[in-house]
């Protein structure tokens, strides 16, 4: 019995709904309401004797429970955590649960992995998926025994009737359960969270054994019979088009099957889909890589060949001098009278903060395997956005999306990069020409020079404190590369006189979401400047920030896109982190503690970093303490801690040394030797995580623990050395002291 309803909402609506409802609303679409027509799913095969209550669950007569994992696994642990939710409500024994990755199919609802949305969108939905199946198993047992269903419970893969001492295993109930109607999802009672036995426990990743034994899990590991190997060279300047290339020579090289120019941009005018380039197809990856070293291309470099970081920076300084409301200086928010407050203030601080473009540098280079056969295609992709991949492939190939099957592989790092599908489009055009399965592999230089970067940015700040030490004015001018601070971004709504000015630099740099987009840099600028103001006010930073957060609990959003800010949750994590970290304890010279806190991706997180800076200026991050409020329930304690530990360490990785230089319309850095990544000796030795449970819906952890780290470290550096880090990466600032 298959009982699936096509998800009638597109991704955008889902996002909106999920945000509005804190996740609860979407689930009804996963499960066929009682009486609704069945929609047969071609990919959910009907196996005799197997109980299939919905798209996500199958229970075999031997008791094995198969749970489909619909969301891409990028290292966020979703392939383990969402099935845990299903298993908890089902009452399954985790030992008998087998998790299988789903292909892209509307039966599974939204299948992207981004924005830390999977947990909030799927938490209640997955509970209902499990609970519905449990209700049917319980009903089957109750009917068998002739007892009321509400006297039976399901736990550890068994249904029990306590009063009569009877019990039946799930496997022995599947035949009967398969004949029962599927109850309406809303009619099924969910467990009392106090009865949870699986959720909140520490469960290892379901693919761990395969990972540590080197099994072929990733996109780059995929193979098909008759597969050929491709590379795709794009112009060094973004938007460049190949005019000619030494294709005949390249085709004559050992192992080379084909070489050709692709002069298409899909979607038209965009830099993040298919862009023009030269393809080389060979018998092996190495033959393709080797042939590429002899490829010579004449490029038409387009309109951006003069862009440089230096020039962007100069333009930003110019814009900073312009008056509010002048061309390209938009007033995004104004409260009170900032100028008046600043002129009458006891202390005024002025500072310019800036950060560079950085790359996602997924360790698994971009790749994709595509097999186009006439009017249909198959894709095996390490994609965070399988539906987007299919849409782009459909556009590029001129093949209807329904005729394109997408298999989502495990992903060697996402961080937002794999929400874009350019490698899929490249492999697709190549396979269409060859008519064979094509595996496209980027090299590290492709990856660094054709990323969709985390944008750099410039912030020109002025703040004022009153004689009583309170923050009276905040004037902020953001010069961005396209996306600016929003009118509600912190500390808007908390400062009586507030002015936000936004400017955009014209540029041709491809950009994309990078772990905690916006927040990952804004948090640094905001919390560092607040720390400057706390010191200007002569107040302890924790006490100053708690006072700023005020005494309101839920601060409503302003304007159409306004978002409420739960100041009570934030004060709570700030207090917790101060207490747990031993904030205020005496430290030797060259040691310091710093606070960072930020609300992003529905999580309220505060972190304290403890650093040591040697007189010569060598930095060590000794310890980081985090207080994390992501709602009422941690799904998988091991996975949750792993995400926070990783976000903290990755936050340090990004802030400490990462920087891309842009010259002549291209990224200068070509490999890891020029783009220093954090290594084990520099990783924080001690990371302490305190989950603060509050009565709020559970939300995701892939991102929100990253933004507070950089300001915590930079504020700790100030405490240790008296030096302010106003420019990222940190390595740009001389931290020596005497």
């Amino acid at each position: 019995m298959s009982s699936i309803l096509r998800a009638p909402l597109d991704r955008r609506s889902f996002l909106k709904l999920a945000t509005m409802a804190g996740g609860g609303l979407v689930l009804g679409y996963y499960i066929r309401p009682a009486g609704a027509a069945e929609v047969a799913k071609p990919d959910i095969e009907k196996v005799d004797g197997v109980f299939i209550p919905n798209a996500f669950i199958r229970i075999a007569p031997d008791g094995t429970v198969t749970v489909f994992s619909a969301r891409p696994e990028v290292g966020q642990g979703i392939k383990t955590s969402l099935p845990m939710i299903v298993a908890e409500e089902l009452g399954a024994d985790w030992k008998n649960v087998r998790v299988v990755s789903a292909v892209l199919d509307p039966a599974f609802g939204p299948q992207f992995a981004g924005g830390s949305m999977s947990t909030p969108m799927s938490y209640t939905a997955m509970r209902r998926v499990g609970a519905t199946a449990r209700a049917m198993l319980v009903e089957a047992a109750a009917q068998t025994w002739g007892v009321p269903a509400n006297e039976c419970i399901a736990e550890a893969g068994v249904v029990r009737h306590a009063a009569s001492g009877r019990s039946m295993k799930f496997g022995d109930l599947v035949a009967k359960a398969s004949t029962l109607p599927v109850p309406a999802a809303e009619s099924v009672a969910l467990k009392d969270p106090r009865d949870f036995t699986l959720l909140g426990s520490r469960i290892g990743g379901v693919d761990n054994l395969k990972v540590v034994t080197g099994q072929p899990l990733f996109g780059i590991d995929q193979k098909r019979p008759g597969m050929v190997f491709a590379v795709y060279e794009k112009g060094p300047v973004w938007g460049a088009r190949p005019l000619s290339a030494n294709l005949d020579h390249v085709k004559s090289l050992p192992g080379v099957r084909d070489a050709f120019i692709v002069d298409r941009t899909v979607p038209e005018g965009q830099l993040t889909g298919l862009v023009p380039g030269v393809a080389i197809v060979a018998d092996s990856t190495w033959a393709a890589f080797s042939a590429r070293t002899q490829l010579e291309v004449k490029w038409q470099e387009g309109g951006f060949q003069n862009s440089s970081w230096e020039d962007f920076s100069r333009q930003a300084q110019e814009l900073a001098k312009a008056a509010p409301g002048s061309p390209n200086v938009a007033v995004a928010r104004t409260d009170g009278d900032v100028d008046k407050a600043i002129s009458g203030a006891a202390r005024v601080v002025e500072a310019a903060y800036s950060y560079p473009f950085i790359s996602h540098t997924n360790l698994e280079p971009q790749n994709c395997l595509v097999h186009v056969q006439g009017d249909r295609a198959e894709i095996w992709a390490p994609t965070q956005n399988p539906d987007g991949a299919r849409k782009l492939a459909s556009q590029v190939l001129g093949i209807a999306a329904e005729k394109i099957q997408v298999t989502i592989t495990r992903i060697g790092g996402g961080f937002g990069r794999r929400l874009d599908s350019d490698p899929v489009a490249e492999a697709a055009v190549i396979s269409q020409r060859l008519g064979a399965p094509v595996k496209l592999t980027w090299n590290r230089t492709d990856d660094l020079q054709h990323d969709h970067y985390r944008p750099g940015g410039f912030h020109f700040l002025k703040g004022a404190v009153d004689a009583d030490g309170s923050l009276s004015a905040w004037r902020s001018h953001h010069v961005s590369f396209g996306s600016n601070l929003g009118a509600d971004d912190y500390p808007a709504r908390f400062v009586p006189n507030y002015l936000l000015l936004n400017s955009k630099l014209e540029n041709g740099v491809p950009q994309g979401p990078w772990r905690a987009p916006g927040s990952c840099t804004y948090a640094w600028m905001i919390c560092c400047f607040l720390d400057e103001l706390a010191h200007a006010a002569g107040r302890d930073p924790v006490e100053f920030n708690l006072a700023l957060l005020g005494d309101r609990d839920l601060v409503p959003g302003t304007g159409e896109r306004g978002r409420p800010y739960n100041a009570a949750r934030m004060r709570n994590v700030v207090r917790q982190v101060a207490e747990r970290s031993g904030w205020g304890k005496p430290l030797a010279r060259g040691k310091g503690m710093g606070l960072g806190y930020y609300f992003s991706h529905q999580g309220y997180i505060a972190e304290v970093a403890e650093v040591t800076v040697s007189p010569k200026g060598d930095l060590k991050v000794d310890r980081v303490v985090a207080a994390v409020d992501v709602g009422s329930q941690i799904v998988n304690m091991s996975g949750a801690e792993n995400q926070v530990q990783g976000s903290i360490t990755d936050g340090l990785n990004a802030a400490w040394r990462q920087e891309l230089d842009i010259r002549q319309g291209r990224v200068v850095q070509a490999n890891f030797n020029e783009y220093p990544m954090l290594r084990i000796p520099d990783a924080p030795r001690a990371i302490e995580i305190h989950f603060v449970k509050t009565d709020n819906p559970p939300t995701g952890l892939g991102e929100p623990a990253l933004p507070p780290l950089a300001p915590a470290v930079c504020n700790a550096i100030f405490a240790a050395t008296g030096k302010r880090v106003r420019q990222l990466p940190i390595s740009r600032t001389d931290l020596s002291w005497s």
């Binding site: 990028v74 290292g75 966020q76 642990g77 520490r202 469960i203 290892g204 990743g205 693919d207 761990n208 054994l209 990972v211 540590v212 034994t213 080197g214 099994q215 072929p216 990733f218 780059i220 590991d221 193979k223 190997f229 050992p254 092996s284 990856t285 190495w286 033959a287 890589f289 080797s290 540098t361 997924n362 360790l363 698994e364 280079p365 495990r410 992903i411 060697g412 790092g413 996402g414 961080f415 090299n443 590290r444 091991s638 792993n642 530990q645 990783g646 360490t649 340090l652 490999n671 890891f672 030797n673 990544m677 954090l678 290594r679 084990i680 000796p681 990783a683 924080p684 030795r685 990371i687």
Partner: protein
């Protein structure tokens, strides 16, 4: 093209490839041993770490011609079933996030434990600094190595 006989994970393989082909691509494309990963191709990430005669080596920088005289061990050959103490510790402590770097991490750590059964944090820093983890699981990698050392010591004791 030239013919080479490779000893990989205790088995003999004949391959016919250009002599300068890196061992990495022979393993991945010719021998279907894809546990060894490509990350940078220039010896900067150690995702491709294998053992040549027991010593850690970057497969992306090792031409197949140079590998032919050595015993090659890849992650697939570290143990048949995930029973090496590092593999067990990695599962127990749930070290991986995306997992892409972990074969290289484990191979580097295995070489470390083979010569230093009880490494200090400093020893770990020295032996593991070449291995990038983009997901930044360093905290658990360190804990995983200490745990594996403990497990191996317990095994030795049990056998003694």
């Amino acid at each position: 093209m030239s013919k080479f006989t490779l000893q990989v994970n205790g088995r003999s393989h004949e391959v016919d490839v250009a002599p300068e082909t890196p061992l990495l691509w022979v393993l991945r494309d010719q021998l279907d041993l894809v546990g060894t990963k490509f990350g940078c191709g220039i010896g900067q990430c150690a995702a491709c770490t294998v053992h040549l005669d027991g010593a850690p080596a970057r497969a992306c920088l090792t031409p197949v011609s140079a590998a032919a005289s050595a015993r090659v061990t890849t992650i697939e050959g570290l143990s048949a079933d995930g029973s090496h103490p590092l593999q067990k510790a990695w599962c127990e402590l749930d070290v991986a996030q995306c997992g892409y770097c972990q074969a290289g991490q484990i191979m580097s750590a295995a070489a470390l434990l083979a010569r230093n059964p009880n490494p200090s944090d400093g020893d770990i820093d020295d032996a593991m600094a070449a291995n990038l983890c983009r997901c930044a699981t360093y905290f658990r990698i360190r804990a995983g190595i200490h745990r594996a050392a403990e497990m191996a010591a317990a095994d030795r004791e049990a056998k003694a």
